[in-house]
Subunit: 314 residues, 2 copies
């Protein structure tokens, strides 16, 4: 498969699982991963990029897969001392993980772009594929809830995603441009893959960047396969608030709901065997459907799903 | 001894040892410690105050006394990860210790004065006596050496105090004011104690603050005991580059050299039993001399020295 240009759109945990599968079966140079930065925020003076870090830790073999976030072998001396000092402790920062945020912030403050900093940090940990932040600008996702508008991490971590969602203000409500590296990765890829990530808060922030949707539609028109792996399996999400958000927004979480959201920009939808009964309905939306195992518990699951996706033709 | 107002001038390690002795024998309200901030610097976006932290860790029972700096039970996950990322690793930051710097920086950036931040952090760790930064302004000590002018931590940590010293530019070469809290502690104390700290880089930065020397001379004139505990014992320093600096500046390190430096502002000098032979010469300088054990290896040593100093009358 060498020489194919594969561009993969990803959020955090779910997206990173398939990223690892893709990284196992593709030469590193073939894979560009566009990472959501809508979850990024400043905390304790540090720039924190959760989805980028999840990708870096996952692809470098450092992810704490049991916990679902953070680094393996992590220690918590900093948080213990922080609590002792009466400092903010609602967002856990492991001692190793802190180095990532401190060094990223140091390099950003010295004038480097997030794209450059990410390339350095990922490379230092031995990550092969390019991890491209979707933008170098601030593009915070605001969650509108019945309790008011909430910055993403307030909603997700501090309030445990409990408030009922009424909508989203992506990019802090202003127009934000993707990087030139992101647009280059979308210039003439052989395939675009939309990861099994939360559509509202992981994928939409990427799609809504100036020019990205238009570019994907043009690619679809010219026959480039644009393949989405459904984040909904059997009417629910594997992890995180995706299904809850669908319900709160008045829609039943289903592969059909995923198909309808993405139908203008994707050509193919990959759904799980559990959703096989829905395949014919989805085909009526003009999408080609692949039915396979999409639940990734083991590394073999990740590799098998990556291979199934990459086997999809134009 | 309740109700006495004791003001103690201190640098880091040596000064903190006697501070602990004083804190053991004085009611907390009686003791104000003026801490050198000339070693403070910004590193990795964090404000680091080594002498304040040494005092806080020592007085709260958290100092790593075996190592001579840092916290006891410290872990190094952050530094390990930092090295992995190719970040700056010449200044060791323990995982617990990091919380101090992060929380201090966060509070300073939110607009608090260093004095207020220090009071909060010390109090959170259970420190009773007031620890007063000598100033809330930046007042960096620059070390002039045969290799050029060096910021203090570059000289002390990065270059291991190796370059030959030719002089000092205190407070970055500009006039710096003490805080109102420092001047209040020098307003009408019952006794001022100058700790056994490096005269050039720990005590001079305090003495050279606008108005401090004048105030000490006035206190001395009115009979307030101003007691210095010699940092030179038997012609050498217990720790650190004090003796080396004396020699590089062309002076023999001795209790006499200490007496001559401070004779205008102190009334009493406390010297170690090893230096008993010099006592009569020192008396000719107009100082009252106390000869006792000043080498503090155990907590009992610290307490005994504190009691000997506090027993000094006007």
């Amino acid at each position: 498969m060498s020489g194919r240009a594969i561009t993969y759109l990803s959020g955090g945990v779910g997206g990173a699982k398939l990223a690892l599968g893709l990284a196992q079966v593709l030469p590193a140079d073939d894979l560009s991963i566009i990472a959501n930065t809508g979850d990024d925020f400043d905390h304790l003076g540090l720039r924190i990029c959760p989805d980028i870090d999840t990708l870096v830790y996952t692809l470098s073999g450092r992810a704490n897969t049991a916990q679902g976030w953070g680094r393996t072998g992590e220690t918590d001396s900093f948080m213990t001392a922080m609590r002792e000092l009466g400092g903010p402790d609602w967002f856990f920062l492991g001692d190793h993980d802190l180095a990532m945020h401190v060094e990223r912030t140091r390099r950003l403050n010295a004038g480097a772009r997030l794209t450059e900093v990410t390339t350095h940090l990922a490379s230092a940990l031995g990550v092969g594929p390019r991890i491209l932040p979707m933008t170098d600008q601030a593009a915070p996702t605001i969650i509108n809830t019945v309790d008011g508008a909430l910055p993403f991490q307030d909603y997700f971590v501090r309030l445990h995603a409990a408030p009922v969602v009424t909508g989203f203000a992506l990019h802090g409500g202003v127009a934000v441009a993707p990087t030139v590296e992101v647009m280059a990765a979308l210039d003439r890829p052989d395939m675009v893959i939309v990861g099994p990530s939360n559509p509202f808060i992981s994928i939409d922030p990427i799609l809504d960047l100036t020019g990205v949707c238009t570019r994907l539609k043009a690619l679809k028109q010219t026959g480039t396969p644009i393949v989405c792996v459904s984040p909904i399996v059997g009417g629910d999400a594997i992890k995180g608030p995706t299904a809850k958000m669908f319900r709160e927004l008045g829609e039943t979480p289903s592969v059909g709901a995923i198909a309808r959201r993405y139908r203008d920009i994707i050509s193919h939808l990959v759904i799980d065997n559990q959703d096989r009964a829905d395949a014919s309905d989805l085909a009526e939306l003009g999408l080609r459907i692949t039915v396979t195992g999409t639940v990734m518990q083991t590394l073999d699951d990740r590799i098998a799903l990556a291979e199934a996706v990459l086997a999809i033709g134009p």
